[in-house]
Amino acid sequence: MRIQDLTDLTGAGTRLFDQLGDAAGRMLEGEIRLGVTGLRRAGKTVFVTALVDNLLKAGRLPFLDVMASGRFRAARLKPQPDADVPRFEYERHLEALTGPAPDWPQPTRGISQLRLAIRYRPGSALRRAVQTASTLNLVVVDYPGEWLLDLPLLRLSFAQWSTMTLDMARHPPRAPLSADWLAWADSIDPAAPAEEEDARRGAALYTAYLHACRRIEPGLSLIQPGRFVEPGDMKNAPLLTFCPLPGDRRGRHSLWALMEERYDAYKTSVVRRFFTEHFARLDRQVVLIDVLGALNAGPIGLADMKRALQLSLEPFRHGSSGWLDWLLGTRIDRVLFAATKADHIAASQHGNLKTLLDGFVAEARSHIRFEGAAVETMALASLKCTDTVITEHEGRQLRCVRGIPVGRDRPTVLFPGDIPPGHEVFPPGRERPYSFLSFKPPAGAGADGRGLPHVRLDQALQFLLGDYLE
């Protein structure tokens, strides 16, 4: 047994102990931890803001059973459970969305939390007899999607990861972005004695390449390791000065060995720490995906998103390979993959959008459903910015969206292209069949005090929390 596995074991022991303590606390007062993450600008911040706002104001959630049956009493914000995690700045984000000049809030970096107490009347007569009103503490944990994509690294050795990453970097659409770094990787000798200067240079070039992947329009989703672009509190730490190298295991003090050491250290003190401190304690998870953005990006962007999506499903396949995995597994039992910004297409297209997303997760989903968490997909919009309208065009009725695009101040009616019902979304001969615009938050959203208008947020909540509010 390697040292690595021993740390796994002690980690598992600690976590088991933690979980027992958590379970005891949950007996007294219900608590549920909901993880929210997203791939490539999927709108996590808006999702959390709309979710919290709608629960606090409780006016627009007809599909949440506890609301529909009139058992919901109230929800309010509570102090956070973990003192060392930043608070999700709900008030500030809400103000940005609903202020006099509504705009999208600044994207958040790193992890943040918010705790809500939901007071409700239990549905079953038996539980009502014990207590007339129950409280469920909902902890929303918002973290970058890159951190979720880091979790599969736990299974990969440095050599495996290097092969995979290098292979990906040599193919479009990444090849032009990675040219500098690849040139450097080809010029050095991995077997040569390690020089700190070389390591720093390689890491800097690799980081620049990752940043470029994210920055280009359309951005790419699959970025590993996540802390290189979302360093949080560890900017410039030696932990982040490594990069994939070609070749195989080399001599003891070679550059390759140094990089491998740092890669393993990254896995232990970054990825595993995130896993034990946050991810393993989650009960439910929602992964937001900007499918429309990927469609805008064309076939290559969509393929990249699909790959990232399949990687992000990996951590939910607990129980699939061996006893160690079972110990290390999470307790997440429901995962929602949601295509956000569904309001950017006509409502009649939502079904097709969902089908498309279904196709991406279908393969992994069958395994997961059998062994681990229940997986659901949905097309939703955290904040509904547009209306679906009907327009005549050359004698045909088109379903379009009407809203104010970002950067303009007059509403427009947009026909962004129809998503076909199958999985063949890029018909041959049409390079860019879609043109989805970003829309501004509507003026006066939620001014009626019933919470922000949304699309299917209530159904998402019902899937994620419904059984806790029975």
Binding site: P62, A347, G351, D387, V389, T391, T412, F415, G417
Partner: protein
């Protein structure tokens, strides 16, 4: 699909003039069904299975002819009666004429009411067919019309007003048709279901106690019949059918069709449990046992009436069950003895 047809169907993404667009939902008036004409909509398969027999057409012709003969005879007799009254004395003539006109007017009013109630029943069946289709297709754009039709059905019901307002609030242009139907199911019909279940519970308890306590079999037969009819009418009124006499008959016929063909009420498993429960109770006391069985029958009638009158068919999760009624009834021996 070949390349050329795809090209013709394909529309490039573009921006259009905001003035030329109409918002969803487009409020369209649902076509009012003409009384007497069978609407060409899907109905419950069970009900359809009962129709279409060649014999019923002959029966209808016979009934029509007989009715015509009776009407003509009545007309002649009335005219004759009037003539004779006027011949006897003017005062008597006026009196009889007044009586005849009152009879004609009230009969006409009654007929109108009956027709209207029949139409409402038919409309509910239509709505159920539409709801079935909308839930299956999950398309977009028809849901609002369906919600509008339902709101018209429950127009002028003070108890449902807040619910309908809430429903109108909840439905947005982003919901697809299946979601709209589900919303209606949850927001409007769930409350009606609870009320109907209470009615059924009360009626089945009534019949059970009446059977257990009645001194003669004739009396409890009458009580059970009357109570069952009343229950059906109550439930129908609750769901918005407002049945008249013929309406109730028709409703009963539909219910029989449902009971016999679709086996709506319960599965064989439940029947076995009922029989077991009944025989257990019968061991305690024959009369009380009969009461329990009659109560269960009434409950079954009530639940079938709910199935028949509901504008959206029950799903697997909200299908009413005999469960609670059964437990309630099985405590009856304790209450009575």
């Amino acid at each position: 699909m070949t390349e050329s047809t795809r090209d013709r169907d394909w529309i490039a993404p573009m921006e259009l003039d905001p003035d030329g667009s109409a918002p969803l939902p487009v409020e369209e008036e649902a076509p009012e069904p003409v009384p007497g004409v069978e609407p060409e909509v899907e109905r419950l398969p069970a009900v359809r299975a009962m129709r279409g027999a060649g014999g019923s057409r002959v029966g209808r012709w016979l009934a029509g002819a007989l009715a015509a003969i009776v009407a003509v005879a009545l007309g002649f007799d009335t005219a004759d009666l009037l003539a004779r009254s006027f011949a006897t004395s003017l005062a008597l003539g006026v009196l009889v004429a007044a009586a005849v006109s009152v009879a004609v007017v009230s009969a006409g009013a009654m007929l109108l009411r009956e027709l209207r109630s029949l139409r409402r029943l038919r409309r509910i069946e239509e709505l159920r067919g539409t709801a079935d289709r909308l839930e299956g297709e999950a398309g977009h754009g028809e849901g609002d019309r369906f919600a509008g039709a339902l709101a018209r059905l429950y127009d002028g019901r003070p108890d449902l007003e807040p619910v309908l307002v809430r429903l109108k609030d909840a439905i947005t242009d982003a919901h697809d048709d299946a979601e709209v139907v589900r919303l209606i199911d949850r927001e409007v019909l769930a409350g009606l279901d609870r009320a109907a279940y209470q009615l059924t519970l009360r009626a089945s308890r009534d019949t059970a106690i009446a059977t257990a306590l009645s001194p003669a079999a004739v009396i409890d037969l009458a009580v059970v019949l009357w109570r069952n009819l009343k229950l059906v009418r109550e439930i129908a009124t609750l769901y918005g059918v407002r049945p008249g006499y013929f309406g109730s008959l028709r409703l009963l016929r539909r219910m029989l069709a449902n009971l016999a063909v679709a086996g709506v009420a319960e599965s064989a498993h439940h029947v076995a449990v009922d029989a077991l429960g009944g025989s257990l109770a019968a061991a305690i006391s024959t009369r009380v046992g009969q009461g329990v069985i009659n109560g269960l029958l009434t409950a079954r009638v009530g639940i079938t009436a709910m199935h028949t009158c509901r504008p959206v068919a029950f799903g697997p999760h909200n299908r009413p069950s005999l469960g609670r009624i059964r437990t309630e009834l099985l405590t009856l021996p304790k209450q009575v003895l």
